[in-house]
Symmetry: C2
Subunit: 167 residues, 2 copies
């Protein structure tokens, strides 16, 4: 698939089948994330992979999107390692690039995922559940699995509303 | 190309040939950026496209990477529109996802680019050159064109150094 098609056809998926995601697929997703660019190549990300039902249930209780988390086969919690950081804005951008690589990989491999940000309201509780060190700050949780639903229609503003200057 | 190969083979390119990048290619790159995910789908990005030699020269004077900017056929300056923002960390992550989509599109189309962050030290001066409104904050400048050099080798930490928890 052309990469523009991959990018444009990706949607948030919030309901998953029971089919397990293989360790190999999780490894590919993480590898995609790791190959994101970062300022000074500082690679400020750290990740936790969660399949354990007990931990998943406890994380599900920390977000409004409980059902989605319970339905997911795997959760990948992505943290900013502030001990590796050099500039908050640039580091957080890199985390976004890392997350996007993972979402594209997930989609290209026929899986689905949703990028959970609302759970950041409980970021320290999530961190405690995966025994994250003091230097780590939760940036997002990806809930993923084989899609049990179609994604939404998707909508974006036109290019003409986005590009304010061209010369 | 498999998307993991696209992700892993992308490198920063800092020297470009004189071959012009077509408007259609720039449009594809911007479209790729626009289709990044964002919290609440707020799409907090705004972009300026610069081909004009005079403006490019002035931007080149605002960064340590002068030659790279002068060599680039096109610059795309990406801004956070704070009037569309809802959460600084999540908005900046979305900008990172948008930038990464553009870098992958550029690479997949046989172009090269570098993500310039150092220029943020002069973010208000860059904004003035493209007549950006008060609500805009420069997040990065992409310098792009047809590659005149190979990219570097690229290096990343191992997965085992990145994933600190797996259960």
């Amino acid at each position: 698939m052309d990469i523009l098609d991959t990018i444009k056809s990706r949607r948030s998926i919030r309901k998953f089948t029971d089919q397990p995601v293989s360790d190999d697929m999780v490894a590919r997703i993480i590898e995609a994330g790791i190959w994101a660019p970062s300022g000074l190549n500082n690679q400020p990300w750290k990740m936790a992979v969660i399949r354990d039902q007990e931990i998943k249930s406890r994380i599900a209780g920390l977000t409004h999107y409980t059902k989605c988390v319970l339905s997911a086969n795997v959760l990948i919690a992505v943290f900013l390692d502030t001990s590796l950081g050099y500039d908050r804005t640039k580091d957080v951008q890199s985390i976004g690039a890392c997350l996007q690589n993972m979402l594209l990989m997930i989609h290209a491999d026929g899986l689905g995922a949703v990028w959970l940000g609302e759970i950041l309201k409980n970021k320290d509780k999530v961190k405690a559940l995966v025994k994250g060190s003091d230097d780590l700050e939760l940036m997002a949780v990806l809930a993923l699995g084989y899609p049990a639903t179609e994604g939404g229609k998707g909508s974006r503003r036109e290019t003409a509303e986005t590009v304010f200057f061209s010369r």
